[in-house]
């Protein structure tokens, strides 16, 4: 009897320790760097000053704000619309197609920076393969419309995945009941499925909006003379010694993120329905729709995949051919001129990304557990903090790390740790959100059952909750890994001599204008990420266990 109490006491202490460690990590690797870089915005000439903020609403800046707002929202809107179509396509197709669709969407997320923009220019530039080579037109592709187009394309995959998760929360029986009561396919879609998607739609829109506002690489390449807040901040940072001003401009991007977070949280709460639930995922709902409606729904989805394939195709061609002047000349030159340290860089990318993915997933799951399952109010605040790195442009999160970790006792500059932690903590919200979704679908009674049988909190987590969290775990792992491999903004400032990574090499080639080489490096990167994704996805399918907590009670 005493031994059991002693063990329980130990687990309790351990439990508290883990909580403290989590909070400490978030504080150290998220709050501290952000505060450090924001502090810059309050400095001018070495002392505290508000000059940067005074000029922040200058007419020039106001124009930038307006530019940013409308391109970001337009792009987010289009992404969301297409993502809704893709989700509906999933709902209307059989289980086999659904699985395939989800995987295809995840794979289309493998898109190293600049690949889309590059492909776009190669195809539609002033001497683009299509506009010039095929149609003989010499159009100017640079401008806000291209920014919106490319940002919209880039956001579709992410929004779709978010909506897929939303779909999982729809009750199968409500759909059946609707059909049972005579509602035709389009009515069920309108009255049952669409309202259920609404929170996810809002959530996706605002998250995308935030990401678009912070995106600086797309407008730089295809924006032409159309400038946005993010590009302005970045350019000021790298071409003037006026870091403070750049930091101040970045701070402007925060309010939108707050709104995004608010809607996201509302989405999570509304996902509660009553009684035992069977999800509509992987089931053929048998909804029949009129032909024209099916066309409207499936067309954007199909187009998206065609465009994605085209994009990969173009980059592949561009890696092995000289595409200047609208003609194609095959060559292996780019492969040959690959800088010798590129392979080592790739190795480092993979290593750091894997470690970061593992760390992020574990830490993220734990944080989600404490926040949602254990319902500790303090952790709600912590969860909000983990969303912050997404809000500010990656470049500033990176600079924050430089500011925070360049002196003793936290001298992490020049080590692998600073890169890994940057990857890890920038993406922390991904596993957290995934785990949140899983938790919202698990009945609380299984926790209570475990505790009732004598398990401590930790034991409950380990034995009972870990298995259903599998999917969330693996999906998050893949996402964080992929994003880390492709990340450029944040780490541009924290790579150090001898420690460059593959994405930076790509960034450099693009910066030097060596588009052929960049294409080749992009292809390498895509292939490697793809291979790892494949391995991890296979792993997920093989070992998939059935989720007993979600099965129907009796036949």
């Amino acid at each position: 009897m005493e031994r059991r109490t002693l063990i329980r006491q130990t687990y309790k202490q351990f439990d508290k320790l883990i909580l403290l460690v989590l909070i400490g990590l978030v504080g150290l690797f998220i709050v501290y760097p952000i505060v450090s870089i924001v502090a810059f915005s309050f400095r001018s000439g070495g002392e505290f000053s508000l000059t940067h903020y005074q000029s922040i609403f200058s007419p020039a800046n106001r124009k930038l704000i307006w530019h940013s707002l409308w391109t970001a929202s337009s792009a987010a809107f289009f992404s969301t619309v297409v993502a809704v179509m893709i989700s509906l396509s999933a709902v209307l197709s059989g289980p086999r197609w659904q699985k395939g669709l989800e995987k295809a969407v995840m794979i289309s997320m493998i898109s190293p920076p600049f690949v889309s923009s590059l492909a776009f220019i190669i195809l539609f530039g002033r001497r683009g393969l299509i506009t010039y080579g095929l149609l003989g037109l010499s159009l100017n592709p640079y401008g806000p419309q291209s920014i919106v187009l490319l940002q919209a394309l880039g956001g579709i995959a992410f929004a779709s995945l978010l909506l897929f998760a939303n779909l999982e929360q729809i009750d199968l029986f409500q759909v059946l009941a609707s059909r049972d009561l005579g509602a035709k396919g389009q009515h069920t879609l309108k009255d049952i499925i669409f309202p259920a998607l609404r929170p996810g739609i809002l959530s996706a829109f605002f998250v995308l909006f935030t990401m678009n506002i912070a995106d600086f690489s797309t407008p730089i390449i295809v924006g032409g003379s159309f400038k946005t807040l993010a590009t302005e901040a970045y350019l000021i940072a790298v071409s003037t010694p006026n870091l403070g001003q750049a930091a101040a401009i970045s701070v402007l991007m925060v309010p939108s993120a707050l709104i995004a977070f608010y809607f996201y949280r509302r989405n999570m709460r509304l996902g509660q329905t009553i009684g035992a639930k069977r999800s509509i995922k992987d089931i053929d709902l048998g909804l029949r729709l009129p032909g024209w409606l099916r066309l409207i729904i499936f067309l954007p989805a199909i187009s998206y995949f065609i465009i994605t394939l085209l994009k990969y195709g173009v980059i592949l061609v561009s890696a092995f051919a000289n595409t200047s002047s609208g003609r194609i000349k095959w060559t292996l030159d780019y492969a040959r001129t690959l800088p010798p340290n590129n392979l080592a860089a790739i190795g480092r990318s993979v290593g750091y990304s894997l470690i970061a993915a593992l760390a992020a997933t574990i830490i993220g799951l734990l944080i989600s557990w404490y926040t949602h399952r254990r319902r500790l109010p303090l952790m709600e605040g912590v969860e909000f903090l983990t969303s912050l790195p997404y809000i500010i442009p990656g470049t500033f999160f990176g600079l924050g790390y430089v500011a925070a970790f360049s002196s003793q006792p936290l001298m992490l500059r020049g080590t692998a740790i600073i890169l890994i932690t940057n990857y890890c903590f920038r993406q922390l919200s991904v596993p957290i959100k995934a785990a949140n979704t899983t938790f919202s679908m698990l009945d609380r009674s299984i926790d209570r059952a475990a505790k009732d049988l004598g398990a401590s909190e930790l034991q409950t987590f380990w034995t009972v909750l870990l298995s259903p969290l599998r999917t969330a775990f693996i999906n998050s792992f893949i996402t964080v890994f992929t994003s880390s491999m492709m990340a450029v903004g944040a780490i541009a400032f924290i790579v150090s001599p001898g420690r460059t990574v593959a994405s930076m090499e790509l960034f450099r080639s693009v910066g030097q204008g060596r588009y052929g080489l960049a294409s080749f490096q992009a292809v390498l990167l895509i292939v490697i990420i793809f291979v790892f994704n494949l391995i991890l996805l296979l792993f997920k399918d093989r070992k998939g266990g059935r989720d007993v907590s979600r099965t129907k009670r009796s036949k």
């Binding site: 009750d171 029986f173 059946l176 059909r179 005579g182 509602a183 009255d191 036949k555």
Partner: protein
């Protein structure tokens, strides 16, 4: 016959499913499909609802073959086990749903007609309430009203009371039976609770492992079980003596010994050992002050 199920079958694999299911139901009849988990009762229900396509056989409802008709077009309504109420709509819109889509009424006309059915289940005051504010019992009634509203030719109920507490269950059973008599709608009910089946049904179909064990009125099923498992499943049966516990009685003194006494208030169960057999006796009313170990004689009542 109003409803005919002819040679209906659906096999998921070699062992699980429904085989050669034959049943005829009259209009206004209340038929229960009764059996343990996995016996196939829900499979039959789903085939009737149109959510499952039979491998073979046919379903004829009021003269029409509806075997291949999609659920949207069947004059059949289902009350699901978890009620499946539309959580984004309020009570009246839930009930009016079928009226709008099956009978194609306009929204306002549908709502008006729906009020009648709300009254029927006694929830008139809750028309504007959102679903998540209702209790389990209230939700169940809304589900019922919603299905009744389209005036289906056949109403299917999939263990609709299993989520309610015992006290409530009794009440809703009474209400359902009264409702059925009043509306005269043909109802097909699925349950594993034999008391429920006995109380509600005009006829019971006892099922086991995908096949029909016996079809009959409650009294027939209870007093004339045709197979051993029907006898065991509906009520209890002493196998060695082939007699129901309530048909036996005990007298003090004798060769048998009481092993266990279970007091249930209105009745008491005795487990008695006689010649290596364990016999169950059910006795109603006030009992003598016996203890386990008491010597008794078993007699027929």
């Amino acid at each position: 016959m109003f409803l005919e199920l002819n040679d209906l079958s659906k096999m998921y694999d070699e062992h699980n499913g429904v085989r050669s299911f034959d049943l005829s139901v009259e209009e206004g009849e209340f038929v229960t499909m009764l059996g343990p988990s996995g016996c196939g009762k829900t499979t039959v229900l789903n085939m009737l609802g149109g959510f499952l396509r039979p491998d073979g056989g046919e379903i004829i409802l009021d003269g029409r073959d509806i075997t291949r008709t999609i659920p949207e077009e069947r004059p059949v309504a289902t009350v699901f086990q978890n009620y499946a109420l539309f959580s984004n709509l309020n009570v009246i819109d839930n009930v009016a749903y079928g009226l709008r889509y099956y009978h194609q009424l306009k929204k306002s006309a549908a709502r008006k007609a729906a009020r009648k059915y709300l009254e029927l289940v006694g929830l008139s005051d809750y028309a504007q309430t959102m679903i998540y504010h209702l209790s389990g019992g209230q939700q169940q009634r809304v589900a019922l009203a919603r299905s009744l509203a389209i005036e289906p030719k056949l109403l299917l109920l999939d263990e609709p009371f299993s989520n309610l507490d015992a006290a409530l269950r009794n009440q809703v059973r009474q209400d359902l039976k009264a409702l059925q008599k009043k509306t005269n709608i043909t109802m097909l009910f699925v349950t594993h609770d034999q008391e429920e089946a006995l109380f509600l049904s005009d006829r019971i179909v006892v099922m086991r492992r995908g096949e029909i064990s016996q079809v009959g009125t409650p009294k027939e099923i209870y007093y004339q079980p045709q197979t051993e498992d029907v006898a065991q499943f509906v009520g209890s049966m002493n196998q060695t003596l082939s007699i129901r516990p309530e048909d036996l009685t005990l007298k003090a003194g004798g060769e048998a010994v009481i092993e266990r006494i279970s007091f249930y208030g209105a009745y008491t169960d005795y487990l008695v050992r006689q010649d290596d057999d364990l016999i169950l006796i059910k006795s109603f009313g006030k009992q003598p002050d016996w203890q386990p170990g008491q010597a008794v004689t078993i007699e027929k009542e």
